[in-house]
């Protein structure tokens, strides 16, 4: 029996049911795909931390050279608080970017980086800085209390603190120097 016979056997009103059902389903699915395509990733949403727009949690500690460092003593400057570990590959990859960023602002003194050790030992990190460069203060965080205050889940995570000590931005994963510059100029334009 040929398909034509089958077609004839089928009553006219039902002829294109499958086609229309398929097309309507297709439209619904494409809308669904559009919704999915416009979603931000859960990790980015996480980056919308409850700290945003709030005063940064206090952050003090002993730097690798033994001096006492605190976030509040850096008021008046933009500060990138960077949680890092020497074993973390993305941290190793973002390190040269942070070096570049600090070098650009060395003259003006308007911005700097404050590192916080996350799940790593001081000797390891000291060795890492000796090897990779970078002259910003890095404090250890025994017990992980600072990481807990900032809601850090894993390195690297960075927070941009404005000159008044407010958290304006959070990044999960690597940052780069140009991205930081852009955020900085946006922040300054808003009168930060």
């Amino acid at each position: 029996m040929s398909d034509v016979d089958v077609d004839v056997a089928v009553s006219r009103s039902h002829r294109h049911t499958a086609r229309w059902a398929a097309i309507s389903l297709g439209v619904v699915l494409l809308l669904f795909i559009a919704v999915l395509a416009t979603r931000k990733s859960a990790a980015d949403k996480q980056a919308e931390s409850p700290l945003l727009g709030k005063q940064a949690p206090s952050l003090t500690g002993t730097a690798l050279d033994g001096s006492q460092v605190s976030l509040s003593s850096m008021h008046g400057k933009w500060v990138v608080v960077n949680f890092m570990a020497s074993w973390c590959v993305p941290c190793q990859e973002e390190h040269p970017e942070l070096v570049k960023f600090t070098q650009r602002h060395q003259g003006a003194g308007d911005a700097g980086v404050l590192g916080v050790i996350f799940d790593d030992t001081e000797p390891n990190v000291r060795h890492f800085f000796d090897r990779e460069g970078g002259s910003w203060p890095v404090v250890s965080d025994p017990g992980g209390h600072t990481a807990l205050d900032f809601g850090v889940r894993g390195p690297p995570e960075s927070f941009l603190i404005d000159p008044n000590g407010f958290v304006v931005w959070k990044a999960i994963g690597q940052v780069n120097a140009d991205g930081l510059e852009k955020l900085l100029s946006e922040g300054k334009a808003r009168g930060g």
Binding site: M1, S2, D3, V6, D7, A9, V10, H14, R15, H16, T17, A18, R19, A21, A22, I23, L25, G26, L29, L30, F32, I33, V35, L36, A37, T38, R39, K40, S41, A42, A43, K45, A85, W87, C88, V89, Q92, E93, P96, F118, D119, R131, E132, G144, A147, G154, I172, G173
Partner: protein
């Protein structure tokens, strides 16, 4: 070295797929059997590429070659051998490599199986479809999810090792490969569905083949899901085994659709009906595996399983879009030609029950899918961020499961076409009587609760019906009565009933408490006595653990522990379980003693029938093997009953030969 070898493998696979697609495409266009014959050989190039990639990755992991970024992030010198090997699927890029390996394995079997029909355009289109899918996964590895990226700059001397949860239990070696064998296996039926639609050859011949492949994939997926539940129970320490987590749902949704297909395909074989529906189910099963992959790998949903941030989301979504457009377009193009001439005579018939079964599975699938993506939809519509949890899924799925259990009892005894009340009464009497007896006994022993008792009644009813079928069949044919699709299917039903009963019982009658105990102190919960004996600290190469010693019921000593892995902030608990056929005593170390000899907090969870979940899984696996066992099966081209052209209420017509 590893990087070069692995990259070579990835590109070999990608090129093999691309050239294979081009050759087959040209061959199909020109109707040239020589080109079709040549095109299929590229399957072996793809296999070689995948094997090369896996060898490169495993050797890099085993040699601790930290110049590979993947190894630096997921390997360490302290990790035990087993977890170094399983490290290949402990993170995103490696898991795509495993996917490519499994897919190329299926491709090899498929190409070999159909080698004599290689010049058939239908086989050509199917092979081409699998080549496209394989090409996509190799392209992912060549682009955004490259497992063989090297580290620029100083090479680390050690890495953090796999995620602590993935180096805590040997099931990690089995659960993902099994799951992938299932998940990826649906590519083959999908390819045949596409090929049948493209060629317009909608006869029944391809169908039996496809059913077999689907059954294989379905069996592995079932085992994978059950092993995942087991792993979660043994490792995560919350005493549960199923949490409706997006990743669990991502594997469960295609399972539901494939289950629907395995049932409704029988209606097509016997009555020639539901053709569009069956094709749609195959297309949907594969599409849903890709959607599930997107949901779990792109990071749009938060999940305990979600992989680290990666840029592969848009790639997978685009591929999903392509699959959807192809599927929907093919159905729209060919669908109306597929329309079957027959219709269902009576709702109280085997085919009526299969239809109801399919509607229920479709509803089940919709409920789970909606719950999984609802947070995304809600956010898109009004910006709310919310999460959908266990209560939604449990409340929505319970009635569906109950209805499915009821069908499971009734459907196997229903004849095709039309059933009389008399037949039903006779065939269902003993199963119903047994079910009632079981529930009366349960109530007499003090069990209460509507939902669990309903599950017990319906479960026994369904199991009784299945046992009746098996007994009849075994009486007629001896041991052969247990083999074959219908009989294997009945064994699968028994396995499903076992799981449903165990699920209901463990949810309804579990007890859990935490006790602060000093060494020597005991506590009682649900008839079990636990005695805390003390704790000690154990150091091993990859972790430091505090182990409590807890004696259960005056017998064996169990050791729930807390592990600290060097590069992880959080400590990982590791439960210890006394398993029994009647119930499980699940122990966790909720708080280790502050100082030596101090008191510890021991979490105790007693849940009945947990072991039956795993036994049920094994029974399903056994039933699947028996169902797939090659027996005296009909030749696919010679169906016993042809589609019915005119409506009639008489007995099914005799074989009339091959249908077009």
């Amino acid at each position: 070295m590893s990087a070069a070898l692995g990259t070579a493998g990835v590109w070999l696979g990608l090129l093999g797929a691309a050239i294979g697609v081009a050759t087959l495409g040209l061959g199909l266009h020109r109707r040239d059997p020589k080109l079709l014959e040549a095109g299929r050989k590229y399957a072996w190039v793809i296999v070689a590429g995948a094997v090369l990639g896996v060898i490169a990755m495993e050797s890099a992991l085993l040699r601790h070659d930290f110049s590979l970024r993947y190894v630096a992030e997921n390997g360490s010198r302290q990790t035990p051998l087993l977890f170094t090997i399983t490290g290949m699927w402990s993170a995103l890029e490696g898991s795509i490599l495993l996917w490519a390996l499994v897919l190329s394995g299926y491709l090899a079997v498929m190409v070999r199986h159909f080698r004599k029909r290689a010049s058939d355009p239908l086989v050509g289109w199917a092979t081409l479809t699998v080549f496209v899918v394989a090409g996509f996964f190799f392209a992912l590895m060549a682009g955004p999810a490259n497992p063989f990226r090297v580290i620029h700059g100083a090479i680390p001397t050690n890495g953090p090792g796999p995620n602590p949860l993935l180096q805590n239990h040997p099931l990690v070696a089995f659960h993902p490969p099994m799951l992938y064998l299932g998940y990826v296996g649906f590519t083959i039926p999908f390819a045949f569905a596409v090929a049948a639609l493209v060629t317009g050859r909608l006869g029944e011949g391809w169908l039996v083949e496809t059913r077999r492949w689907t059954l294989f994939a379905w069996g592995f997926l079932t085992i994978g899901i059950v092993l995942g539940a087991w792993w979660s129970y043994e490792v995560l320490g919350w005493g549960g085994y199923w949490a409706w987590d997006p990743v669990e749902n991502a594997s469960f949704i295609p399972w539901l659709v494939a289950t629907a297909y395995l049932h409704s395909v029988m209606v097509q074989e016997r009555r020639g009906m539901l053709r569009i529906w069956n094709l749609s189910l195959l297309l949907a099963t594969f599409s849903l595996t890709i959607l599930g992959t997107f949901l779990t790998r792109s990071g749009v949903l938060e999940s305990v399983h979600s992989f680290t941030e990666s840029p592969i989301g848009p790639w997978i979504l685009t591929f999903f879009g392509l699959v959807v457009v192809t599927s929907v377009g093919l159905i729209a193009w060919r669908g109306d030609r597929l329309r079957s001439p027959g219709s269902i005579d009576s709702p109280v018939s085997r085919e009526g029950a299969f239809l109801a079964n399919n509607l229920l599975f479709a509803a089940f699938c919709f409920v789970v899918l909606l719950g999984t993506v609802f947070p995304l939809l809600a956010e898109a519509l009004n910006g709310d961020r919310l999460s959908v949890g266990g209560p939604y899924f449990n409340r929505m799925t319970t009635p569906i499961v109950l209805a499915l259990l009821f069908l499971m009892a009734v459907a196997p005894v229903l004849p095709w076409r039309k059933a009389s009340e008399e037949v039903l009464r006779r065939r269902l009497f003993w199963p119903a009587a047994a079910a009632t007896l079981v529930v009366v006994l349960c109530v007499a022993t003090g069990l209460r609760g509507l939902a669990p008792l309903a599950v017990f009644w319906l479960g026994t009813f369904a199991a009784g019906s299945a046992v009746r079928q098996l007994a009849l069949s075994a009486r007629r044919q001896g041991w052969r009565g247990l083999v074959g699709r219908a009989n294997g299917g009945m064994i699968v039903h028994i396995g499903v009933v076992i799981i449903a009963v165990a699920f209901a019982a463990s949810h309804a009658y579990g007890h859990s408490r935490e006790f602060r105990l000093s060494p020597g102190q005991s506590a009682r919960l649900s008839g079990h006595t636990v005695t805390y004996l003390g704790s000690n600290t154990v150091k091993s190469s990859n972790k430091t653990s505090v182990e409590a010693r807890v004696r259960v019921d005056g017998g064996k000593i169990y050791a729930p522990a807390v592990h600290q892995f060097p590069f992880a902030t959080q400590a990982i608990g590791s439960p210890s379980v006394k398993s029994g056929l009647h119930d499980d005593v699940y122990l966790t170390l909720a708080a280790a003693p502050e100082q030596a000899g101090g008191s510890a907090v021991i979490g105790v969870i007693v849940q009945p029938l947990i072991m039956w979940l795993w036994i049920g899984g094994a029974v399903i696996a056994l039933g699947t093997v028996l169902a797939a066992w090659p027996g005296r099966r009909r030749r696919p081209t010679a169906p016993v009953s042809a589609p019915v052209e005119v409506e009639s209420t008489g007995p099914p017509p005799e074989p009339v030969g091959v249908i077009s």
